[in-house]
Subunit: 311 residues, 2 copies
């Protein structure tokens, strides 16, 4: 079933060109291993945690799968220098990066032979990272959940593909085989999905989070945090409404808004907090209708895309 | 060459399921007729003008083409009641609507036998218009130029397709055969493009406008006007920078911002005004590299999409 015309499967030795995006507080070894065992690429999140946390996550996933997996390094983390070294020490098969420019780490990582696949949101950013030795990029449109850029998937992917010679993975708005097939038409050689894996059976988030994703309609997400310099897409909830009001108020300082937002994702993931939780999700939430094993999510997507693409 | 699996071609008696979006100040009978003569659907714009203006545009296009054409009615126009009657009197083959809900006109139009294809930006809006007798909808993502909604093409199209039984035309971010093929994978049966027709040889806009589109990169557009309730995507220019500043300033009233914006599109289209012109364009501007006849724009797109879709 290696019929997708994708250099990514060869490069990473995976069966299906489907990545599960690394999501802070969400993607643990159980979920990432389930995705890798199903033939995709499961990706752990180094999130805002220290080296010991990441080392324990890597040790755990290695007991759960023999297949390649990835680690996502969030460049705004206070522990980024530590975890950047951990992925070298642990010879992690694939490293993805988010929320910034990983320039200062690229030389060390590529010299250590790691396969680096940064998340990018513009052509210029993608070109710089190709020159620095990235083996591929994940070009992510603003329909995605969590941290977002300005460009949308439909316009971003072909422009990045025209500018690079390394493979492009499409992200943002993709939750089924139609989105995957569309991404390939735009020139991508793989997809990264986050929101649809939130409802995987193996995903250990609070049941209230899964329920909110399944109930969400097309217009149920909003971007907040633009004025703070780090826009984030999440489900519309009492938290996002209040946060949006604070952002718009001339009487609220950036520090006050940041403090209000601190811990909101953890409260959603671990506590299912209806008032003060931030339920990050992409616009594709409206396409997601049921809880399934990760294997079924991937196979349904791949099979639907194969039919549409006449593979 | 009717090989696209599209009910739109049958319904409207056109060769290719490619609409040229109606653009105020931009789409005149010359451009719309060139598109219709090439096998797509050319669409005039009723813009903010009165019944006499639209009647003269319709009389003119009928001297230039025997093929079906459309009229776009901008629902924020002060003359909307007048022009809504003109399309009935003139038996215009196709009517598209933008910037609002055409509910109050739907009964009169459908009783007159007109084919109504509203532009929609959400599932709920699309479902209401299907019930009111729309023969199709144009679902437009926020990567588009001009007035935009909140949802992006990649996530919007499959959700609208799942909700409706009438055909869905995709718009937003589409400027070549890759985007057209992607739209079909998402379930659309046609595409509407605006930005790529700005650079048609037959498009009578100021040469400076065309030059700006051709020079634009992926990150060269911005949305302004969100706070005024009518967000618009345009190229980043001195005008949009100033307008964005005014929007963000607590000292500027909505009326002052509206007055500053008045006439800005006309100044771009007719005068090529570098300082005070508003150059509406979508994120696909970065994909557009040359001035071509409308026929070549359509045929290049259709041929590339046909190859990608293995038609």
């Amino acid at each position: 079933m290696k019929k997708f015309n994708s250099r990514i499967c060869e490069l990473l030795d995976i069966t299906y060109p489907v990545f599960q995006g690394g999501m802070a507080w969400v993607t643990d070894p159980t979920l990432a291993a389930a995705v890798s065992n199903a033939g995709g690429l499961g990706i752990l999140s180094a999130m805002n945690a220290d080296a010991d946390f990441l080392r324990s996550q890597i040790a755990k996933i290695r007991t759960l799968t023999q297949k390649p997996f990835g680690v996502n390094i969030m460049l705004m983390s206070p522990f980024v220098d530590q975890v950047a070294q951990v992925v070298i020490d642990e010879k992690v098969p694939v490293v993805t990066t988010g929320a910034g420019m990983p320039g200062k780490y690229m030389e060390g990582w590529t010299q250590a032979g790691l396969k680096i696949i940064p998340v990018v949101a513009s052509v210029a950013f993608a070109k710089r990272l190709e020159r620095m030795g990235a083996v591929a990029v994940i070009a992510e449109g603003a329909e995605a959940g969590g941290h977002v850029g300005d460009l949308n998937t439909m316009a971003l992917i072909p422009q990045v593909c025209d500018a690079l010679s390394i493979p492009v993975i499409a992200a943002g708005g993709i939750a089924d085989g139609r989105g995957m097939a569309a991404a390939f038409m735009l020139g991508a050689e793989g997809v990264q999905c986050g929101t649809c894996f939130l409802v995987a059976e193996e995903c250990n988030i609070h049941p209230a989070y899964k329920e909110k994703i399944i109930k969400a309609g097309d217009t149920d997400t909003i971007v907040t945090g633009k004025k703070l310099g780090h826009p984030v897409r999440a489900l519309k909830t009492p938290f996002t409404r209040k946060f949006a009001q604070m952002e718009d108020s001339p009487d609220v300082t950036q520090q006050e808004a940041d403090e209000f937002g601190a811990g909101a994702l953890r409260r959603a993931v671990q506590e299912g907090d209806q008032q003060m939780g931030c339920y990050m999700a992409g616009q594709s939430a409206g396409l997601i209708k049921k809880i399934q094993p990760a294997k079924d999510i991937i196979e349904d997507m791949v099979n639907q895309a194969s039919v549409l693409l006449k593979l």
